[in-house]
Symmetry: C2
C-alpha cells in the first residue's frame, strides 16, 4: 500500500476544534486507501507559553533543560490528536521522537538527525494503525532528549518520509503554498504549482519562511515529493520535486531582503592571500557575509566589496578598519540602507534575456544597481532599499507572477 506522510504545523492544531478537523482530514485520507504517518508540531501558543515560563526563571536556561521543557509541547498534540482520531473510530497510536528512534547528535536546541530506527513505526503500520509522531524532537545516543531547532517538525516529517520510502510528504501550513513573492506584502503574488528543490532552496535561503532549507535539502537528497498546502484551503498547494530543466528558462518567484550595508576597500595592493585574510577575519568576528566581490586590478591594485546585514555594521566597521591598515588599502567606503531583489527559476542565471528584462524594469523605477550576482537558478540585484517595493511590483508583473483572478 502506498504510504503518505502528513505533517501538521502549530496553527493547524491551535485549538480543540482545529485538532478535530485535522483528525477528520487524516481519517478521510486513510479511508481513501493509503497508509499514513502523521507528524505534528506543538499547538501554536504552547511553545511560546513554555518558553516564557523558562525566561521568567532564567535569562539563559540550560539548553538540555529547555529541550526537556519544549518537548512537552508536541507530546500534548500527539496525544490529543490520537484521542480525536479514536473518537472517529481510527486506530491511532502516538509516538515521541525517542520512541520512534529519531537518533540525533547531542547538540541541544539545534540537533542534527544521525539515523532513524523506525521499527515501532513499521510495526504500527503493519497492524493497520495510524502512527502520530511528535515532530521537532529526538534522542541522542547517550539517551538525552534533543530538539532539531527551527523548522524541526518539517525536518522530522521529511526524514521519516525518506526513511519509510513514502510516496509523498504533505506539509500543512498556514499558507496555501509557495508564493511568487511574500503575499502579505505583495497581495497579487500567486502560488507556484510546482518548483524544484534547487529553486525552493534558493527561496528558503533568501528569506522565505515556508520551508526550512534543511527540510528542503533532505527532500532533494532522497528525491521525495514534498507538497506544501493549507488545511483551510482546497487548492493543490505547491509540489516540490525533481524537475527536468525546461527548454525555456522561467522566473518562478521573487524574493527580497532589506537592511543591508556595504563596505568597500579602495585600491588594495594585489598580494598573495590578501582576499582570504580579509574574509577569514570577518568570519572570525562572526560577521555574516551576504555578498562579496572584487574589482578588476588597475596598476596592481583592486577594490574589495562586502555586503553584510546592517545589524553588524558597527562591528564590521571596526574589523574592516583593521583590515584596511593590514592590506594597505587607500581608503574604506561605507554605504547603508541597501536592499536586494532575487529572481528564482531553473537556469535563469545564464539567460541574458531575463537579465535584460530585469535591468530594464529596474531602470524604469529609477534604480541604480550597486551590486549584482548570479547563480545557476538565482539572479540578485542590490540597490537602495527605498526602491524595493516599486521594483518588485513591476518585476512580478513583467515575469507573469501575479494571480490572474486578482488582476
Amino acid at each position: 500500500m502506498a504510504l503518505i506522510v502528513q505533517k501538521f504545523g502549530g496553527s493547524a492544531l491551535a485549538n480543540i476544534a482545529r485538532i478535530k478537523s485535522v483528525a477528520q482530514k487524516i481519517a478521510a485520507t486513510k479511508k481513501s486507501g493509503v497508509d499514513i504517518v502523521v507528524v505534528v508540531s506543538a499547538m501554536s501558543d504552547e511553545t511560546d507559553r513554555l518558553t516564557k515560563l523558562a525566561r521568567q526563571i532564567s535569562r539563559k536556561p540550560p539548553k538540555r533543560e529547555l529541550d526537556m521543557l519544549l518537548t512537552a509541547g508536541e507530546r500534548q498534540s500527539i496525544a490529543l490528536l490520537c484521542i480525536a482520531l479514536a473518537e472517529l473510530g481510527c486506530d491511532a497510536i502516538s509516538f515521541t521522537g525517542s520512541q520512534v528512534g529519531i537518533v540525533t547528535d547531542e547538540n541541544h536546541t539545534d540537533a542534527r538527525i544521525l539515523k532513524i530506527k523506525g521499527d515501532r513505526l513499521q510495526q504500527a503500520l503493519k497492524s493497520g494503525k495510524i502512527p502520530v509522531v511528535a515532530g521537532f524532537q529526538g534522542v541522542s545516543i547517550g539517551r538525552e532528549i534533543t530538539t532539531l531547532g527551527r523548522g524541526g517538525s518539517d525536518i522530522t516529517a521529511v526524514a521519516l518520509a525518506a526513511r519509510l520510502g513514502a510516496k509523498r510528504c504533505e506539509l500543512y501550513k498556514d499558507v496555501c503554498g509557495v508564493f511568487s513573492e511574500d503575499p502579505k506584502q505583495f497581495q497579487d503574488a500567486k502560488t507556484i504549482p510546482a518548483i524544484s528543490y534547487d529553486e525552493m532552496s534558493e527561496l528558503s535561503i533568501s528569506g522565505s519562511q515556508v520551508l526550512h532549507p534543511r527540510a528542503c535539502a533532505l527532500g532533494a537528497k532522497y528525491n521525495l515529493n514534498l507538497v506544501i498546502k493549507s488545511i483551510l484551503d482546497r487548492g493543490e498547494g505547491t509540489m516540490i520535486k525533481q524537475t527536468r530543466r525546461l527548454e525555456k528558462p522561467l522566473v518562478r518567484a521573487i524574493t527580497h531582503a532589506a537592511n543591508l550595508c556595504r563596505f568597500t576597500l579602495i585600491a588594495v595592493p594585489q598580494k598573495d592571500r590578501c582576499l582570504s585574510q580579509a574574509v577569514s577575519q570577518l568570519a572570525q568576528a562572526k560577521i555574516p557575509l551576504v555578498f562579496f566581490a572584487h574589482g578588476v586590478p588597475v596598476d596592481h591594485r583592486f577594490d574589495l566589496s562586502f555586503i553584510i546585514p546592517e545589524h553588524a555594521f558597527k562591528q564590521a566597521k571596526q574589523v574592516l578598519a583593521r583590515i584596511r591598515v593590514k592590506l594597505k588599502a587607500e581608503k574604506l567606503v561605507t554605504q547603508q540602507n541597501l536592499g536586494s531583489v532575487s529572481l528564482v527559476g531553473p537556469g535563469i542565471g545564464s539567460d541574458s534575456k531575463i537579465i535584460a528584462t530585469l535591468f530594464n524594469a529596474l531602470q524604469k523605477v529609477g534604480v541604480h544597481t550597486d551590486a549584482f550576482s548570479t547563480a545557476e537558478s538565482k539572479i540578485t540585484c542590490y540597490f537602495n532599499q527605498k526602491y524595493l517595493k516599486p521594483a518588485i511590483a513591476l518585476l512580478l508583473d513583467r515575469f507573469g507572477l501575479v494571480e490572474k483572478r486578482k488582476r
Copy 2:
C-alpha cells in the same frame, strides 16, 4: 554521603515564584552536606488543564493516550525546576520516569512499578549532580509510557528512596503534616509528630488524603522513614516510621466518613454458602462494601447487615432484593444517612478503656450506635451522620488530640 529524597507536590510548584522557592529549599539542603534526589508532580493546574483538553475531544479517551498527554505535566516541572536550580548555581539534571528506568506493568492510568533500574540516577549522584525526577510516570517493558494513578508521585518518591537506600523520604504537601482529624473541618486538630506505618495506613484507607496507601505500604515494606511536611511551614511535620508498640495504647488520630447506607436482611435461614453467595453477588455488581456483619442465629435464622456508600444505594437495593429471594430472608430493611468515626492508634482495638471512653462520649452527644468494628489499630463506629461533627469535636478533646496553643 547520606541520601535524602525530597518530593514536591503540585501546589508547591503552582507558579514560577513557588518553583524558585522550592529550588532555594533544595539548594539549602544540598549545601548542608547530603545527596538529594528530587521528585516532582505537575504544576497544580496543569493536570487539570490537560485533562480538560482531552475531555473536550472525547468522553472516554484511550488510556494509553491519556498517559502520553498527562506525562507532559511533570516534564514541564522537572525542566523548570532544573532551570531554577541552575540559576542558583546548582548542577541539576532532569529525568523522566522512563529515563530513570521506572519499569511498570502495562496497566495504563493505574500502573504498578515492577522494578527501578536507576543506573542514570546513580551516575548523576556520583558526579555530584542533583537529579530531578518526574513523579507519577513510568515505562512498560514494551516501551509504553504509563502513569501510576492517584498518589503516583508519592509512590515514585518512596520507591526511589527504597531503591537507592535513602536515609529519609520527605514529602512536601499543602498540609504541614498528618493531623489528628481533618483540619479544614476541625480547626483545633493537631499535627501528629510521629506515627507508625500501620496507623498511617488505617488513616489513608479511611479517607485521609495526605498519603496514598500504596506509598505507605512501600515505606513499611522497606522500613523507610517518611516525613510529611509543608514547604511554607517551619514545623517538623509528621514522621512515619516503624515504632515499637507503646506500653499504653494511645489514640493518635480520628478519621470519619459520611454518606453511607445500610441494608439488613432479616432472618436469613442458616445454610451452607449463604454468606459467600450474598457477598460475591455484591462484588460482581461492583458495589464497594464498607462493613458487613451478621447477627447471632436464633432458631437457625440470623440477620445479615451491609454498609455501603450511599451513591450505590439504588443498585445495591436491586441486587439485595434478588439476594433476599434467593436466601429466603424474611425481609430487607434499609437505612440511609449514616456516617462513621474511626479512632486510630497502636493496639487500641483491644483496649476496653478506650472503647469505654468512646461510647461514653458518643452517648453524651446523643448518638445511637448502629454498627461497630475493631481492628488491631482502629475502632470504627457507625451512626446517623448528623451527629458526626459534635461527636468528633468531643472525641478530639477526650483523647487529647487538640492543638494546645489554640485552646
